[in-house]
Amino acid sequence: MAGMKVNLCSLELDNPVIPASGTFGFGYEFAELYDINILGTFSFKGTTREPRFGNPTPRIAECTAGMINSVGLQNPGVDKVISEELPKLQKVFSKKVMANVSGFSVEDYAYTCEKLDKCPQVGWLEVNVSCPNVHGGGMSFGTSPESAAEVTKAVKQITTKPVIIKLSPNVTDIVSIAKACEEAGADGISLINTLLGMRIDLKTKKPVIAIVMGGFSGPAVFPVALRMVYQVSSAVNVPVIGMGGVSSAEDVIEMMLAGASAVEVGAANLVDPYACKNIIEALPEAMKKYGIDNLEDIIGGARNG
């Protein structure tokens, strides 16, 4: 499968398929079903400085071709992730994992990233400045170029591993934010996080989601994500990870043509636990069908000429 290898911030991936944070836990549920070492890597559950329960339930709502979640970064906190989750993960996943980090202050991000940076299992730090489900922080860092750059700078100063900044689509100009992160030292950009959405229950006439709004994801957002990946990858020189509604090998190829160096798969994992395995297995056939020998050759191909 040499044709499927891609390079992500100087680390080689066997293929570009990466389960997205929050849809793959710490991998074990999926490792019960298949050998998760077939993945390029995966981005683990968003980790914060302190343990978090997240938001009240209901925090899931179905939509046409997608879903809304308002989980709100439930996680055991960085210390338990390092002492409990990573040793368990080591038993089922021998590749480098992507550590996904969230915070409520610049200091939070730096603190959590510094700890995870020291873990040999961690290959990349994916810094989420875009979670729509946390009040008083989180997404606000990703909605202005200045604050996104401030987080990037603080994390870069105290870490050694590639830092990928995960951006929100809920902004007026994602390109300026991506550029600010690149200038602040980001080694890569990943996008898009979920789109802020809501549903109303016609029987109760009240919002389905307990905190009213949540992040919308699934196949319905794919064209929006693709467009933003195209715009951002055209404007920055660092690798871009494309995500948003990716559900098939064809979607992976389309994302790469738009400019993605690797592709994350999110909501699809929740509907079909074998989604990533199926996509990876379908890639060679899809590449053949579209005359692609090496996936690396097609990155940004839609832009050229």
């Binding site: 849809t23 793959f24 329960f53 925090r59 046409t64 979640n69 989980v71 994992n269």
Partner: protein
């Protein structure tokens, strides 16, 4: 957990809005009563989690209520239709804690998972009493099925049109050593308050994946955060923390 293709053998209407569907497929991942399956439906993004009512090798029975477009789609399924089903989800009821006489308390569509539980408890030689609670006589289902297993059955209806008038709590004083319950949350709270013995409660929550990956259905318990889909849906009485 296993993913498999299941073929509809029968889809029978039991009441106005409750259906019993039997399906053929690999049931080997289903290990305990009170577990659920998650069914993929064409045209709907999320799967539909539905409790296991009965299960034997190669055959699965679910009893479900039409509450929206997804379950209406399921109700329209015909013999021979095939569904992608995730099986063996959730912890299920722990039979070992029951003692010699168990009380099973079901309300509405909380009744189905108690059927396989009753069957298993009786096969272990335990005495089983069942309270089936409904709003009105026309909604009652599975009374005869439980009797056929050898359980002693009391039906309660809120309007008194059948059996004991009132809620399930009106019939709970029966000297059993342990209880198992499933039903709407207000009923579970009432059972919790009225119960004199220990027991197990099966909960419902809106789920994303149904197998523990998304954290969509988490709840707080005495023993920490639990995912209803993976660490539940069954919680022991001692670990429940009621919200608000």
């Amino acid at each position: 957990m296993k993913q498999g293709l299941f073929e509809v053998l029968k889809n029978k209407r039991l009441t106005d809005s409750v259906y019993e569907m039997t399906l053929a497929g690999d049931t080997s991942a289903i290990t305990a009563p009170g577990q659920f399956v998650n069914i993929r439906l064409d045209g709907f993004y999320l799967r539909r989690p539905i409790s296991v009512c009965d299960c034997e090798e190669g055959k699965l029975t679910i009893v479900y209520k039409t509450v929206g477009k997804g379950t209406e789609y399921l109700a329209a399924a015909k013999t021979g239709d095939k569904f992608d089903v995730l099986t063996g989800l959730g912890n299920g009821y722990d039979l070992a804690l029951s003692g010699s006489s168990a009380l099973l308390i079901g309300g509405g569509v909380g009744v189905p998972p108690l059927y396989l539980l009753a069957k298993r408890l009786i096969s272990e030689g335990k005495s089983v009493k069942v309270i089936l609670g409904f709003n009105t006589a026309s909604e009652v289902f599975y009374e005869e099925e439980f009797k056929a297993l050898g359980a002693s059955v009391t039906v309660t209806t809120a309007d008194g049109t059948k059996g004991v008038k009132g809620f399930v709590t009106a019939a709970m004083d029966c000297g059993c050593s342990y209880f198992y319950t499933c039903g709407p949350e207000p009923m579970l709270k009432a059972v919790y308050a009225a119960s004199k013995t220990s027991g197990q409660f099966s909960f419902e929550e809106r789920m994303g994946c149904g197998f523990g990956a998304c954290m969509g259905c988490s709840c707080k318990t005495v023993t920490g955060y639990k995912r209803i889909c993976k660490d539940g849906p069954v919680l022991r009485k001692e670990e429940i923390l009621w919200q608000e």
